[in-house]
Amino acid sequence: MMNLPTSEQAGVLVVSVNGRIDHAVSEEFTRALEPLLARCTQGQPALLLDFSGVVYISSAGLRVLMMASRQAKAQQGSFAIAALTPLVQEVFTISRFNLIVPCYTSVDAACKVLGR
């Protein structure tokens, strides 16, 4: 099971994601996110993925994020990603996933918007 350490900052549930999010681990990533997403509902803390430790993401990994964002929206929760490394940021831009998954430059910047 993929390890996703969590912490709380300004009322936001911050989840640290590390390594490569590729085809080989996308299902594991989905399963690891499931319990966190289940709690990402209206009135509950926003769910923020800290991507500062992610070195690569493939299309399969991007899909996991899109599905997570959709689920959170359907549950009226808040979901976002923050602190993308420059190369991962480029993948988001090239794939245009920066237009469909909320992204913030840093965890602090995200918490200012999403925190309570």
């Binding site: 085809h23 996308s26 299902e27 690569y56 493939s58 299309s59 399969a60 991007l62 899909r63 899109m66 190369l87 480029e90 993948v91 831009t93 090239i94 794939s95 245009r96 996933f97 237009l99 469909i100």
Partner: protein, 320 residues
């Protein structure tokens, strides 16, 4: 297989430049020239050649039609989009009439943008020519005939002078045609489409257009990576961005530059040609897409050998 010639590269429907597009290209060129003068025509030509492709050229134009040039006497054509019209004219100009030729045409699927050039393919009207239309759809002949019937077209299919034959192929089986092993495979597209893998003794080409790749279908990803394995050139449907293909245009039957790179990397293919361009995208957008795709390949390459990325345009000739 020696070369590939792209006669039609636009997806969905033929798309011409507008007056506004031409105006912008001229303005962009004059801005770069910045008032300089040229001592002769050669100097001017050299300056024009040095301009970005989005300024001195255009991606075009016609809908899907690609030619494979071999050392054999027979002609191999992939799809009959509107690019089949200039292709047919070029063949007539080169071989003249009467000078019977044989054309092997492989049809990816029966949607109009892949068939609409056939009534304008001049060799079909010339007695003595032989045209073999290969495909996997049971209704292939019906679809070709139907578009040449009143009230859709003024010339009835029965007026064809060439001898026209239909060859119903079996997916995932090799077929030996014109000295090549040709393997069709089923692709995800409304009404089904088929990709083709062409293998000669020393070259492999894959033509895979109008195919959607669902991001959650890892098994299909691996199947296509095997289908593309070791290809010298993969001609790939890169109509949408990944985000579009996975969200608002999901189930529209097309793919993206990102999936093209990932599949070619997994397949250890040598070269990727972005194809079936979205009609909404102008030359500047398509040029940007190419640069982004090359950058994506660079930053995701890892230890693999480089994958060359090109963007197909009407008139592009690639040596294999």
């Amino acid at each position: 297989m020696k070369q590939v010639v792209f006669w039609g590269t636009r997806g969905a429907l033929p798309t011409s430049l507008t007056s506004r597009d031409i105006h912008e290209k001229i303005v962009a060129a004059l801005v770069v020239a910045n008032g300089r003068s040229f001592r002769n025509r050669n100097a001017l030509e050299e300056f024009v050649r040095g301009l970005p492709f989005a300024v001195n050229g255009t991606f075009g134009g016609n809908s899907s039609c690609v030619e494979i040039v071999t050392s054999g006497p027979e002609h191999i054509i992939l799809d009959m989009g509107s690019g089949a019209r200039p292709l047919g004219q070029a063949k007539i100009a080169r071989f003249g009439v009467p000078n019977p030729q044989t054309y092997h045409i492989f049809i990816s699927h029966l949607h109009w943008d892949h068939l609409m050039g056939f009534p304008f393919f001049a060799p079909m009207y010339i007695p003595g020519n032989r045209i073999v239309i290969h495909g996997c759809h049971p209704r292939l002949e019906e679809a070709v005939r139907r578009q040449m019937q009143a009230p859709c077209f003024p010339v009835d299919y029965s007026q064809a002078g060439a001898q026209i034959e239909f060859d119903l192929m079996t997916p995932d089986h090799p077929h030996y045609i014109c000295g090549l092993n040709v393997i069709p495979t089923l692709q995800l597209h409304a009404g089904d489409s088929y990709g083709y893998r062409f293998e000669s003794v020393d070259r492999t080409l894959v033509y895979s257009t109008d195919c959607e790749h669902k991001l959650e279908d890892i098994e299909a990803f691996e199947r296509f990576a095997r289908f593309f394995a070791g290809a010298d050139l993969v001609i790939f449907d890169a109509m949408y961005s990944l985000a579009e293909a996975a969200s608002v245009k999901s189930d529209w039957g097309h793919s993206s530059n990102v999936i093209g790179v990932e599949l070619c990397q997994a397949a250890a293919a040598r070269r990727l040609a972005l194809f079936h361009h979205e009609p909404v995208n102008d030359d500047k957008q398509l040029a940007r897409l190419l640069e982004e795709t090359r950058r994506l390949e660079q930053i995701t390459r890892g230890e693999r050998p480089p994958l060359e990325v090109v963007s197909a345009y009407d008139g592009l000739i690639l040596d294999l």
